[in-house]
C-alpha cells in the first residue's frame, strides 16, 4: 500500500489541528494563527497533489484504494470507518485545498481589520478539515460526521458578525434548514446500515456500494412497493437537497450571504454547497441501482432549481445575493448533470464552477471592499476605471458562468450537461428548462456587470452606505462590518493579497475547460465514464447553446448597456416593462413568506399547543387528582370534627356532668354519710314495718 493511502487522513487532520491550536491561542496572536491556517492548507494541498498523482494512470474502478479501521463496538460488532482514494476523491481534494489556500490568503487582506481575525481563521481551518473529511470518507457514517461539522462551521461563519441580528438569524436559518435534510440523511443511513450491515462504501467486495450489497438492496421492496435502494437513495438525496440549496430547501443559501465574503466564496459557492452534489456522486452506484427512480428525482429537482433560482437572480440588487441565487441555480445544473449524464458530467461542472464562482465572489468582495462596504449594485457603476484588475478578472468569471463559447470552462461543462439532458430518454423537459436557465444566467450576469462596472459612478460618497444603514437599523447601535472603512474617497483597487488570488483563479477558469472538451475528454475518462468517440452531432448542440448565450447577453446589453443607469433610485428597466413579474421575482416568489406562514407558524403553534397541553391537560389532570384527594381529606376532617368528635365530646360532657352531680355525694364528710345512713335506715325500717303488716 503506498504511503499516501495510509496517511491520507493527514490531509483533513492538519487543518483540524491548526484549528484546535489557534482555538487555544489568545486573541492577539493574529499572525501565528493565520500562518498556521495557511501553512496547514499548503501542506494539505501538496499532500493532495501526491494523492492525485497516485490515481493518475488508472481509470475509474481500478484506481480505488481504501483504508478501513475499527471505531467502536456494540455487542459483538465493530463500527468501521475508513478513507478512500479514487479519482473522485483526488479531484475534490485538489480543488478544495487549492481554492481553500487562495481564499485563506485573500482573507488575510479582507479581514485584516477585524478584531476577531484569529477566530475567523480558526473557523476557516475547522471548515477546511471537515470538508476534506467529507471528501476522503469511505464510510457514510464518517461522511455524515464531517458533513455535520461542515454545517457547524458554516453556522459559525455565517454568524461571524454575531452582533448583527440579521447574521445571527441567517446562521440559525442555515443550520436548521440544512438539518431538515440531515435528519432524512440520518434515516437513510440507519436504513442502509440495517439492510447491508455496513456503512463502508468500499471494502473489497463487502462495502455497501459494491455489487453484492447493491443487488440485495434492489431485490428488496418496501411496503409501498418501492425498491429499498430507491427509498434509501431518496433519503440520502434529501440530505443533499438541504446542503446544496436545492428547491424546496434553498431558502437558507441567499441569507447566508450575511457572512464575510471569503466565507461566501469558500463555503457557499465553491465547496460546502457542492458537498451535496459530491454526496450524490459518491453514492451514485446506489442511486443508479435498480429502476433508477431516485436519479429521475435528482434530475427533476435539479432542473427545477436551475431555472427557478436563475429567474430570481434577475431581479436582485445585492451583488452577493445575485451570485448566491446563481450558485443555487448552478448547483441545480450539477444535480441535473448527475441525473442525466452520470458522475463525470456533474462533477466536471462542480469543479469548473468552484473556480469561477469563487473568483466571482472574491471579485465581489473586492468590489465591496473598494466601495466602502456598499453591496447595492444600483449604487455602484463605472468601477472598471477604478478597479481594473478586479474588473478584468470579474469579466472572466462572468463569461465562464454565462458559458461564453470555446474559451471559457463554464461553456464546456454546461454544454455537456445540456448535451446529456438532450439525450435523456425519460423526458426532454429538463433540457428545455436547462436551456432557459442558461439564457437567464447570461442575462442576469450581463445586467450585473453593466450595473457595477459600466456607466458613471453612482457611489454616494459621504452618505451612510447601505450595509451600514442595515446594521444601524437592526442593531440600534453603530456597528459596522469593518470598523476601518473610511467613508470618503474614490473607490479603490484592493491590496495585492486580494488581487493575486483573483488572477490565479481567472487563469484556472479559462484553462480547466480544456480538460473536458468533447474532443479530448480526459476528465471524464479519469472519473471512469464511458466516453464514446467524438460525435459531430455535438457541434450542432454547441452552436445552439452558444446562440442562447449570445441572446441572453444581447438582451442584457439591450436593457442595461445602451442606456446606463444615471440615478441609483431610478427603477430597473425590467420593472418599467412588467412591474408585476418583476415584483414576484424580486420577492423570490414569496417562498420565505409562504414558509413563514405555514411551516414556521405551525411549529410555533404546535410548541404553544404542547405547552398548553402540558399546563392544562397533563398538569391539570394531576391537579384534579390532588384536588380530589384534598377534597376527600376535607370530608374526612369534617366527619371527624362534626360527627365523630362532636358525639364523642358530647358523650364525654354527659359523663363528666353526671360525675359532677354524683361526686357531690362523695364529699368526704362523715356526718353526711351518717345522715344518709340514718335516713336510709329509717326508710328501710318504715318499709319493713309496712311490708310485714299482717294482711
Amino acid at each position: 500500500m503506498p504511503w499516501i493511502i495510509k496517511y491520507l487522513w493527514l490531509i483533513p487532520a492538519l487543518p483540524m489541528l491548526a484549528a484546535g491550536l489557534s482555538a487555544l491561542m489568545p486573541r492577539r496572536c493574529r499572525v501565528p494563527s493565520a500562518s498556521l491556517a495557511i501553512g496547514s492548507m499548503v501542506i494539505s494541498f501538496l499532500l493532495s497533489l501526491c494523492a492525485f498523482s497516485q490515481t493518475l494512470g488508472h481509470h475509474g474502478e481500478e484506481a480505488r484504494q481504501v483504508f478501513n479501521f475499527n471505531w467502536f463496538q456494540f455487542g459483538d460488532q465493530w463500527v468501521q470507518l475508513g478513507w478512500v482514494l479514487d479519482p473522485l476523491t483526488a479531484v475534490m481534494l485538489v480543488m478544495v485545498t487549492f481554492v481553500g489556500t487562495l481564499i485563506f490568503i485573500y482573507s488575510t487582506g479582507y479581514m485584516s481589520h477585524d478584531e476577531n481575525f484569529m477566530r475567523f481563521f480558526t473557523f476557516l481551518s475547522l471548515f477546511a478539515g471537515a470538508m476534506l473529511g467529507v471528501v476522503i470518507a469511505n464510510s457514510l457514517l464518517l461522511l455524515f460526521i464531517c458533513w455535520e461539522l461542515v454545517g457547524l462551521t458554516s453556522y459559525l461563519l455565517i454568524g461571524f458578525w454575531y452582533h448583527k441580528p440579521a447574521a445571527a438569524a441567517a446562521a440559525k436559518k442555515a443550520f436548521i434548514t440544512t438539518r431538515i435534510g440531515d435528519v432524512a440523511l440520518l434515516l437513510g443511513m440507519v436504513w442502509l446500515y440495517s439492510q447491508s450491515g455496513t456503512l463502508l462504501f468500499y471494502n473489497n467486495g463487502g462495502g455497501c456500494l459494491e455489487q453484492s450489497s447493491l443487488s440485495a438492496l434492489v431485490a428488496h421492496t418496501t411496503s409501498i412497493g418501492m425498491a429499498v435502494s430507491t427509498g434509501i437513495g431518496l433519503l440520502i438525496f434529501a440530505g443533499a437537497v438541504g446542503k446544496s440549496g436545492q428547491v424546496p430547501l434553498h431558502v437558507w443559501l441567499p441569507d447566508a450571504m450575511e457572512g464575510p465574503t471569503p466565507v461566501s466564496a469558500l463555503i457557499h459557492a465553491a465547496t460546502m454547497v457542492a458537498a451535496g452534489v459530491f454526496l450524490v456522486a459518491r453514492v451514485y452506484p446506489l442511486m443508479s441501482a435498480g429502476d433508477g427512480h431516485s436519479l429521475q428525482v435528482v434530475t427533476w429537482i435539479g432542473a427545477i432549481t436551475a431555472i427557478f433560482a436563475a429567474s430570481i437572480a434577475v431581479a436582485q440588487d445585492d451583488i452577493k445575493r445575485i451570485l448566491a441565487y446563481s450558485t443555487v441555480s448552478q448547483l441545480g445544473y450539477m444535480m441535473m448533470g448527475l441525473g442525466v449524464g452520470g458522475v463525470a458530467v456533474g462533477m466536471f461542472h462542480l469543479i469548473t464552477h468552484a473556480f469561477f464562482k469563487a473568483l466571482l465572489f472574491m471579485g465581489a468582495g473586492s468590489v465591496i471592499h473598494g466601495c466602502h462596504e456598499e453591496q447595492d449594485i444600483c449604487r455602484m457603476g463605472g468601477l472598471r476605471k477604478f478597479m481594473p484588475i478586479t474588473f478584468l478578472t470579474y469579466a472572466v468569471g462572468m463569461l465562464a458562468l454565462c458559458g461564453f463559447p470555446l474559451l471559457f470552462s463554464g461553456f464546456w461543462s454546461k454544454d455537456e450537461i445540456l448535451h446529456a439532458a438532450h439525450g435523456w430518454p425519460v423526458s426532454h423537459i429538463p433540457f428545455y428548462l436547462g436551456a432557459a436557465g442558461a439564457l437567464l444566467t447570461a442575462f442576469y450576469m450581463t445586467r450585473q456587470v453593466f450595473y457595477v462596472f459600466f456607466g458613471d459612478c453612482r457611489l454616494h460618497l459621504g452618505r451612510t452606505t447601505a450595509s451600514e444603514r442595515r446594521t444601524v437599523e437592526h442593531a440600534g447601535v453603530s456597528v459596522k462590518e469593518h470598523p476601518h472603512a473610511e467613508l470618503s474617497g474614490d473607490p479603490h483597487e484592493s491590496p495585492s493579497s486580494m488581487t493575486i488570488p483573483l488572477v490565479i483563479l481567472a487563469a484556472c477558469s479559462i484553462l480547466l475547460g480544456f480538460l473536458g472538451t468533447p474532443a479530448w475528454p480526459w476528465f471524464q475518462k479519469f472519473l471512469g465514464a464511458e466516453v464514446e468517440g467524438f460525435n459531430p452531432a455535438v457541434i450542432s448542440l454547441m452552436v445552439a447553446s452558444s446562440l442562447i448565450v449570445f441572446l441572453g447577453m444581447g438582451l442584457g446589453w439591450w436593457f442595461y448597456g445602451r442606456k446606463p443607469l444615471q440615478q441609483s433610485e431610478q427603477p430597473d428597466p425590467l420593472q418599467e416593462l412588467r412591474p408585476d413579474i418583476f415584483a414576484l421575482l424580486r420577492h423570490k416568489y414569496y417562498v420565505d413568506e409562504i414558509y413563514g406562514h405555514t411551516v414556521i407558524a405551525f411549529n410555533a403553534w404546535f410548541a404553544r399547543a404542547c405547552d398548553w397541553l402540558d399546563f392544562w391537560i397533563w398538569n391539570g389532570a394531576v391537579q384534579l387528582v390532588s384536588y380530589v384527594v384534598i377534597g376527600l381529606s376535607w370530608v374526612n376532617r369534617c366527619c371527624d370534627d362534626f360527627v365523630v368528635n362532636l358525639g364523642f365530646d358530647e358523650g364525654c360532657k354527659g359523663v363528666a356532668s353526671g360525675g359532677k352531680i354524683l361526686s357531690r355525694l362523695q364529699n368526704g364528710r362523715v356526718q353526711n354519710y351518717l345522715r344518709v345512713i340514718g335516713i336510709a335506715l329509717a326508710a328501710l325500717a318504715l318499709l319493713l314495718i309496712w311490708g310485714c303488716r299482717p294482711s
Binding site: W71, F72, Q73, F74, G75, D76, Q77, L141, F144, I145, C146, E148, L149, L152, Y155, G159, Y162, H163, P165, A167, A168, A169, A171, K172, F175, I176, R179, I180, V183, A184, L186, L187, V190, W191, Y193, S194, G197, H474, A475, G476, V477, V479, N603, A604, F606, A607, R608, A609, C610, D611, L613, D614, I617, W618, N619, A621, V622, S626
Partner: protein, 526 residues
C-alpha cells in the same frame, strides 16, 4: 480484590461524610470535606472501573449476606457494566454539583450533607440486586432530594417539592405493591417468595411470573375472576408506573419542569444528571428482564407514548422562556430516546436479518445516551448556575443578548455543551443517538422515523438559545458581565474535555459495557 467489600465501602463513604457534615458547623470545612468525600468516591469508582473485568459479562464485586430470610431479603450487591456505568456517572456528577453549589452560604454543611446522603442512596440503588434492599435505597435517595428542593429552592419551592415527593411516592407505592404481588406469586413450597433480581429474571424469561400468579394469586372483582395474564399485566403496569414517573414518560412528567426549575442549580444537576437515570436503570434492570412478555404485549402503546414524549417535550421546550425550564423539557426529550429504544427491543424482530445486532445497537445506545445525557445536562445546568450568579438570578431567554462580546469564553464553552446536547458529531451526544436510531429503525421503523422530528426541534431551540443569549447586539445592561474566571475555566474544562473524548473515542465506555450488552440481549427471551 475479591475479599474487599468495595461496593459496601463505596456506598458508605458518602454516608459517613454526610453524618460528619450534619454535625459540623464550619462552612469552609464543610465544603472541603464534602468535596474530599465525593472525590474519594470518584477515586473508588474509578478504581472499580479499572478492576472491572470487561471481558466477562456477569456481575462482579459481588457481596452476599443473608438478611431477613423469611422475607426473601438478602444483602446482595454487585455490578455489571450497566451498574458500573451508573456508579461512575454518579461519582462524576456529584463533585460537579458540589462545585456548582460552592458559594452556597445558607447552611452549607446541611446542604452538602444532604448531597452526600443522596449520593449514597444512588450508589445503593445502582448496586443492590435484591428488591427490598434496592427499594430501601430507591426511597432513601428521595428524602435528601426533597429537602434539597424544599429548603434551598426558588420562590415556588414548597409546591414543587411537595409535588415532586408525592408524585414520586405514588409511583413508588405502585412499584411496592407490584413487587408484593410478585413476591406472593413466586411462593413455592417452603420458599416464601423471591425478591432476588437475578432469580426473578430467570423466571421472567420463561414467563414464570404469570405461571406463579396463576398458581398463587386469585383476584375477584364483582364476582369476575381476573385471568392470570390480566393480573400479571396489572402487576407490570404498577411497576411501570414507578419507573415511568421517575424517567419520566409522558404523561407522568408534570412534576419535572417545576422541580428542575425550582431546585437550586446544583441540585438540578444531580436530579437530571443521575436521578433521572434511576428510572431508565429500573427499566433495564427490572422491567425488561422480569416482565419481557408483558412489555411485548403492550409494546405498541408504549412506543406511541415514547414518541409522544420525544416530540411533545422538544416542542414544549421550544415554547419555554426560562432557560432552566427549556433544559428540563430537553431532559425529558433526551431520555425519551432511551425509552423508545427499550420498548423497541421488546420484540422478536423475526423479519430481520440480524435482530440481535440491532438490539445490541439499541442497548449500547441507551447506555451511552444515559451517561452522555447525565454529563451534558449537568454541565448545562452548571452553566445556568454561573449565569444566575452573574445576573442576580435572571435566567430568561430574553433577559440577555450579545453576551458573546463581553464573555467569549463563557459563550464558547457553553456553546460546546449546547452542541453536545444537540447531538453534534464529534461530541458525546451523537454516538448514543446514532446507535439508538441504528437499532430502533429496523425494529420499529415508524416510531424511529417520527422521532427524528425531536432531533430537529431540539436543534431549533438550542440555536434559539444561542441566538437570544449570546448573539445579537450587546444588551447594555450587561456591559460589565464578567467572563469565566480562570478557576471556573479549569473546572468546566473537565466535563468539556470529557465530551470531546467520548465523542471521538466512545470505545472508552463501550469497551467496558460490551459484554453486559451481549449478555442482556441474550437474556431476552425473544
Amino acid at each position: 480484590m475479591s475479599h474487599f467489600p468495595l461496593i459496601t465501602v463505596l456506598t458508605f463513604v458518602p454516608l459517613i461524610g454526610a453524618i460528619i457534615l450534619a454535625g459540623s458547623d464550619n462552612k469552609a470545612v464543610a465544603r472541603w470535606l464534602a468535596m474530599g468525600m465525593s472525590l474519594l468516591s470518584l477515586a473508588l469508582a474509578l478504581g472499580m472501573w479499572k478492576c472491572f473485568d470487561a471481558s466477562a459479562g456477569g456481575f462482579q464485586f459481588e457481596e452476599r449476606h443473608a438478611w431477613i430470610p423469611a422475607l426473601g431479603a438478602e444483602y446482595r450487591v454487585a455490578v455489571d457494566g450497566l451498574g458500573l456505568l451508573m456508579v461512575l456517572l454518579t461519582a462524576v456528577i456529584t463533585p460537579m454539583a458540589i462545585l456548582a453549589s460552592w458559594r452556597n452560604e445558607d447552611r452549607p454543611h446541611l446542604y452538602f450533607s444532604l448531597v452526600l446522603f443522596l449520593q449514597s442512596g444512588l450508589f445503593g440503588t445502582f448496586t443492590a440486586l435484591n428488591f427490598l434492599h434496592w427499594f430501601l435505597f430507591w426511597e432513601l435517595s428521595l428524602v435528601p432530594a426533597f429537602f434539597l428542593v424544599r429548603l434551598w429552592g426558588g420562590p415556588q419551592r414548597a409546591a414543587a417539592a411537595t409535588q415532586f415527593f408525592v408524585y414520586t411516592m405514588v409511583g413508588s407505592i405502585a412499584l411496592l405493591l407490584a413487587f408484593l404481588g410478585v413476591f406472593l406469586a413466586t411462593k413455592d413450597g417452603a420458599n416464601p417468595g423471591i425478591f432476588d433480581f437475578t432469580a426473578l429474571a430467570d423466571l421472567g424469561r420463561v414467563d414464570g411470573i404469570r405461571a406463579g400468579v396463576a398458581m398463587n394469586l386469585g383476584f375477584h372483582l364483582f364476582g369476575h375472576a381476573f385471568t392470570a395474564s390480566a393480573m400479571t399485566e396489572l402487576i407490570f403496569l404498577g411497576a411501570l408506573l414507578g419507573f415511568a414517573v421517575k424517567v419520566p414518560l409522558m404523561p407522568f412528567h408534570t412534576w419535572l419542569p417545576s422541580t428542575y426549575t425550582e431546585a437550586p442549580s446544583g441540585t438540578t444537576m444531580l436530579l437530571t444528571g443521575v436521578m433521572s437515570k434511576m428510572g431508565v436503570y429500573g427499566f433495564l434492570r427490572i422491567l425488561l428482564p422480569i416482565f419481557p412478555y408483558q412489555m411485548q404485549a403492550l409494546r405498541t402503546p408504549l412506543l406511541v407514548l415514547a414518541v409522544v414524549t420525544i416530540i411533545f417535550s422538544a416542542s414544549a421546550a421550544f415554547a419555554q422562556r426560562d432557560l432552566k425550564r427549556i433544559f428540563a423539557y430537553s431532559s425529558i426529550n433526551h431520555l425519551g430516546y432511551c425509552l423508545l429504544a427499550i420498548f423497541a427491543v421488546a420484540t422478536s424482530g423475526s423479519g430481520l436479518a440480524a435482530p440481535a445486532t440491532e438490539k445490541a445497537a439499541a442497548m449500547s445506545g441507551i447506555l451511552l445516551q444515559m451517561f452522555n445525557h447525565g454529563l451534558t445536562a449537568a454541565t448545562l445546568f452548571w452553566f445556568v448556575a454561573l449565569l444566575e450568579q452573574r445576573s442576580g438570578g435572571l435566567r430568561g431567554l430574553h433577559d440577555f443578548g450579545g453576551l458573546r462580546k463581553v464573555a467569549p469564553v463563557f459563550c464558547g464553552m457553553m456553546g460546546i455543551a449546547l452542541f453536545s446536547s444537540l447531538g453534534l458529531p464529534g461530541l458525546n451526544g451523537f454516538v448514543g443517538e446514532f446507535l439508538i436510531f441504528k437499532g430502533v429503525f429496523p425494529l420499529a421503523t415508524w416510531p424511529a422515523s417520527l422521532s427524528v422530528i425531536g432531533l430537529l426541534v431540539t436543534a431549533i431551540f438550542i440555536l434559539t438559545i444561542l441566538q437570544r443569549v449570546f448573539n445579537g447586539p450587546l444588551n447594555s445592561k450587561w456591559a460589565a458581565f464578567p467572563d469565566l474566571t480562570l478557576g471556573e475555566r479549569a473546572m468546566l474544562a473537565v466535563p468539556i474535555a470529557l465530551m470531546f473524548v467520548l465523542g471521538i473515542y466512545p470505545q472508552l465506555v463501550l469497551g467496558g459495557i460490551n459484554h453486559t450488552i451481549t449478555e442482556m440481549v441474550k437474556q431476552l427471551p425473544f
